[in-house]
Symmetry: C2
Subunit: 345 residues, 2 copies
């Protein structure tokens, strides 16, 4: 079945009775075309519904694009290791293209390391930068500099609150509500439930706060007979001092952990010999283990790998094929339990 091929500038040129050079000048609005020719070309263009062939175009535009990537170090926090995978997957997929990737990491507990690496990257004048804006102030600053220097950029995971250009992530407020809904399925009122923020340093605060807001709003709006408490703990405190929390609040029935350290809460509870409801975030190895042995009931999957892949992909599609960069892409909030977890890994 040899159907019609797509129309090319040659077809347009023939129909309009001009040369391909003239058609090209019309297409790229570079002037030097008489009004008469312009009209004829435009008519032909409309009649044949021309769409440029992106393949030929990118073959011709034979430039090496440099893309830099700046994400938190997976060695410091295993949450980021799927991002690495996503990035590498894309890099392999596009290995045959003239793209020059460089991958940098920063310490997720040290804003300074973010800024330092950011500046180093700016010096290299890349075509595009993908980064995780963990720290609000520092990220806004970087974003501004990128904008000034006309460097394309996309963020993922944590949004930059001031100047959002392009972002891939999740609706964190809604994510908190999802957690709340699951809690309300599992424990019945009246009772106390807790929001627990576990983090070495209380950075990434906005991120966790959004989740808490969503969580609380669910109960305030439609389930007032739950009492919601909030605890902000360091990782060490969870492991060593959790008995105090339980002694002081014996009526706590469920725990909503806003970070990937959910397993620490689950393990502490297990260590204390109590069986409570625990809901948290992310498919870390430790979390999955707790999920499977019943110490965690649900996890919310933030799909870091997909976030990294998709955000990088949109940059690549833009550079290579001139596809439009989407402003904000919100990924689904996946609910994970002991059964469907297998289908996610």
């Amino acid at each position: 079945m040899r159907m019609k091929k797509n129309t090319t500038i040659k077809d347009i040129a023939k129909l309009a009775g001009v040369s391909i050079g003239t058609v090209d000048r019309v297409l790229h609005k570079r002037g030097r075309v008489s009004e008469k020719a312009l009209n004829k070309v435009n008519e032909a263009l409309k009649e044949l519904q021309y769409t440029p062939n992106p393949i030929a175009r990118s073959l011709r535009n034979n430039v090496v694009h440099t893309i830099q990537i700046l994400i938190p170090d997976p060695k410091k926090d295993p949450y980021w290791s799927p991002c690495m995978e996503g990035v590498h997957e894309l890099m392999e997929e596009f290995a045959a293209f003239d793209l020059d990737f460089s991958l940098h990491t920063y310490d997720p507990s040290k804003p300074r390391s973010f800024t330092t690496m950011g500046n180093k990257i700016l010096d290299q004048e890349p075509d595009a930068l993908l980064f995780v804006p963990l720290f609000g102030r520092e990220s806004t600053l970087l974003q501004q500099k990128l904008f000034e220097r006309n460097i394309l950029s996309t963020t993922f995971n944590s949004p930059v609150w001031d100047h959002v250009h392009h972002h891939v992530g999740q609706d964190l407020f809604l994510s908190g509500k999802v957690g709340a809904k699951l809690v309300s399925d599992l424990v019945k009122p009246p009772c106390q439930v807790a929001v627990i923020h576990v983090e070495e340093t209380f950075n990434n605060a906005a991120h966790m706060q959004e989740k808490e807001n969503g969580f609380r709003s669910f109960f305030e709006e439609s389930h007032p007979d739950y009492e919601v408490l909030t605890f902000t703990l360091k990782s060490l405190e969870v492991r060593n001092n959790f008995d105090r929390v339980m002694r002081e609040h014996p009526k706590l029935e469920a725990f909503f952990v806003t970070t990937s350290r959910t397993y620490e809460v689950a393990e502490s509870l297990h260590g204390l010999g109590v069986t409570k409801t625990v809901i948290g975030y992310d498919l870390l190895h430790e979390n999955i283990k707790c999920l499977e042995n019943g110490q965690i009931q649900f996890l919310i999957h933030q799909a870091p790998k997909q976030q990294a892949y998709l955000s990088l992909r949109s940059l690549v599609d833009n550079l290579l094929f001139n596809k439009e960069l989407p402003q904000i892409k919100l990924l689904p909030i996946d609910i994970i339990n002991a059964e469907n977890v297998k289908s996610y890994i």
Copy 2:
């Protein structure tokens, strides 16, 4: 912007001290190359890590590929309408390429209409066919003919059990287990729970049976104090005779509906004035409404749009860029409740 470009056939030729023609003959194993030249080229190939530029290749291989698509008619069953979207999305994305798509539908309740359309498609000798193999026997037959005629094909949603070539779908057995796990979270033993197969005609039987098997296995393996009953009902029976089921089985606490007609069960229960747990499949409009007003607790998302998109995408990637066609791609089993549903639509 000025880093090393990827190595081309020309670089290989220069390093090996031969012409690009010779290199090409080596790459495509078309003979007419002396042993000496072959060795030199192979060495150069290894040294420079050559990967062919897929863009230049597909520009050169300027053929119109015809791809036919055969899916159930969304007018007969709205479950299929996201598939349409997925297909159209891909078609737009690849509009600029020389691909000739044609979209055909069949009546999901009439195996004959599947076979008829299938034969019509075979007559056109397409390069590739994407189809939903709803009917086991008929699909196997079509699959065989496709194989004989060397027509590329991919299936999605329902697997062909005999000759699986390439398939995108979900693990239906696991899907049933997920439903069971959710049921066990919401209703406490001892009690009765029901598997309900709702379908006009009992086609697609294997599909539903797999889900039931998974569901039952969960309880048999680890939760023996639930009693599982199975009902196979026509849509009309659900609407008119559901009171009989409830009268005969007053201890039924939860319902696991294996098809997208979950809302019919939920609405019947609501009509009878009883509040029970209902878990089912798919993000139909009606199902979402029931989810939001509490008549359905959970839905399992089969991601028909993604299935259609990804399966078609793998065909396109193969034809256009010679990417390998994956044998089986299993998508995650998404759990949907009244909150996270917003993030999926």
